[in-house]
Symmetry: none
Subunit: 221 residues, 4 copies
DNA sequence: TATGAATGAGGCTTCATTCAT
DNA sequence: AATGAATGAAGCCTCATTCAT
């Protein structure tokens, strides 16, 4: 007979395998979504690409929407984590750190960022992932609180313009959002040869906009 | 016997009625698209909302995609016209006019602007409206040419920073794009009470970003 | 005031014009049906090709099916007339005349003949033209009676094989039917360079099959 | 642990079941097509008749047209196989064997034969089954080659009339084609009581037409 | 009287989801 | 536990026919 730890190990092993497969599904879904566009990717295609059966997908996710939601959440978590570190650095005395971290995080993989933008639009109001959407919004509210507090201090120090604090981070968000789309826009993006240089330019604007002039020429990447 | 102009009048009358109906279809489609989201709007729903039969829709548009394309083109034309006037004013000596006109045009109906953003993503690469897409891109290239020329002059005059000219208009485009999304984003937009004031803030950033400091405090609206 | 004959003339004139237009509709429909195939021809297309409004078509024909039925009937009448003359000639002493006349009539415009074959299949069992179908069948029964009587005599004279009389004309019908299809069949027709010579060959078989050898080498065309 | 052959067996089992279902769909489609006519049969009706969901149909066939094409190809293969055997018998010294086999094959199920005739007309030029149509034509070209060679020998031996070889098989094809239609023609077929006897009569004509008199009275069925 | 814009039933097809093996 | 065949709701589009002008 086997020691009790044997079956425990077995279970742990299985769980690991299960999670690894879930990651793989997400990762292949991501690949297809970025490559083919949201509307073109079917559950069948994902299962084929991930090398698992279609039924298996539904062992991991209740609906297709959940897969998409998961991608959005994963991404938001990553952004949040980067932002958190940036905010800490700002609190520790480097005023531009938060903005820098934020743009860095969002512009380093523009394709993914854009996909998530689109997914979020699609998922808005989807009742079947209501709770996940709440989670997303909660995460953001938490970011917002930290940002508001941080920005208030910077305004107090006279570093940032004295407008409602959320104007500052919303403007950053908007600029990042738009930069990513510009990056991929067929009409406008065509003649941008060094796209990454453009993103750098935008990031610089983002980092310095709203402040009173002292913070120019931060290198982002 | 009837005057020759009689039948001509009749035909003209009919044409007018036909075009009016086409406008109505577009207008009701627009309403639904903004209200329910692109994916939720069916041709049936549009016909119901417009108070016409499903078949009638297809007398006016070859496919559903053409309806969407039409919305995008109409909007782009309107933006282009506003921009053109702004560029003329800039050439006539008011440096911020073009940017102001552009932001004014795009931010005055953020719901529509956002819809068109989404539609453009959806239509990208759609073969059935290839020619219409070309038309769109041609319109933009023409805008781009005018902008490049205008911006080059402003750089020469030392008003704008000396970076590749397209950086300037791309940054504007990106900021407008992002501002509109921020406006509607459930997480971030929630606590913006005076949303229009926020758009004004963003527009000001847009108008002044990239220039060397002289042009602050342009009122947009 | 006008003489009474005036309005009568007017009416007669109108009737003539009406009938002429009806002929035109049929003729253009025929053109399209042969050119594009039965399934591809819409009422719209016919009205366009005939240069009349769609509504006008429905002044002449109750349904689209009636147009098709009319084509079938017109054609059958023409065949019947030719056959009648042929039968008379046979009765007058030229044994092969009827068969010759029949093949001549059917093979002289194979495209039309084939179209009518297909139309008849399509119309079979169509309730909306039941009475017209009855008319068609009555016409044929009349032909059949004449043929049976004629063939019986030829059998009596020892010219035709002594099988049930209808075997003879059915075989002719079948051969004509099949020859027309062979004429157009993509696979088999391809390497028939002189198609009309082939039809002549078939006609000769038709004229002589079932008889006891005396009637070879009738020229058909 | 299971033997390796276990899963292999399972897969084989499934494949068999899948193919059996495909056969069933074809068979029920055939039933409806013959019963109701090509134009009246919808994919919905087929799925209902076959006792499967509409979606299942599309697991087996890419489009409705492919179902029809499949029926045509299956039939053509069967005819070809019969003809091949007949040709071999002819080469082995029985001159009428090929014609006999051909008529036998085509006239033994006239309803099916007629359906396939009609289907072929409908499918002609259909781009979505272009490759399948090529296959069909290739099959026929191969038959034609064999027939030409066979007929040339029979002409050399003085058994068949010395006309271009394809006249012989085209005439056979035409006669079979027409006989089948005669069989079903409402007007002409009505008073044929023993239809099969009629087919026998036609077959005899087919087998002997074009030859020089030696081969009468071949029993077909 | 002639017209053609309007209609909507009905056809084909897709794909998220289920469930028997 | 994993699979993928089966399902059918729902979407897009066509075209014969009607009817107001």
């Amino acid at each position: 007979m086997s020691r009790p730890s044997d079956s425990t190990d077995r279970i742990r092993e299985k769980k690991k395998h299960f999670l690894a497969r879930e990651e793989r599904i997400i990762e292949r879904a991501l690949y297809l979504l970025i490559r083919d566009g949201i509307d073109k990717v079917t559950v069948s295609a994902i299962s084929r690409e991930a090398g698992v059966g279609k039924g298996t997908i539904y062992k991991h996710f209740l609906t297709k929407t959940e897969i998409l939601m998961r991608i959005v959440l994963d991404y938001e978590r990553s952004i949040t984590e980067n932002l958190r570190i940036g905010i800490e650095a700002t609190e520790a005395g480097d005023p531009g750190a938060a903005a820098r971290a934020y743009f860095q995080a969002r512009l380093s993989d523009p394709g993914l960022d854009r996909l998530v933008q689109q997914l979020e639009v699609k998922l808005q109001g989807s009742e079947e992932v209501e709770s996940k959407l709440s989670e997303l919004h909660a995460m953001r509210r938490s970011n917002i609180d930290a940002l508001n507090s941080m920005i208030a201090k910077l305004i107090n120090k006279g570093i940032l313009e004295d407008v409602p604090p959320h104007y500052h981070y919303l403007a950053c968000w908007a600029l990042a959002q738009g930069a990513v789309e510009a990056y991929f826009n067929v009409s406008y993006g065509a003649d941008v040869e060094d796209k990454d240089e453009f993103l750098q330019f935008v990031a610089n604007i983002g980092i310095t906009m709203g402040n009173r002039g002292q913070l120019r020429d931060n290198k982002l990447f």
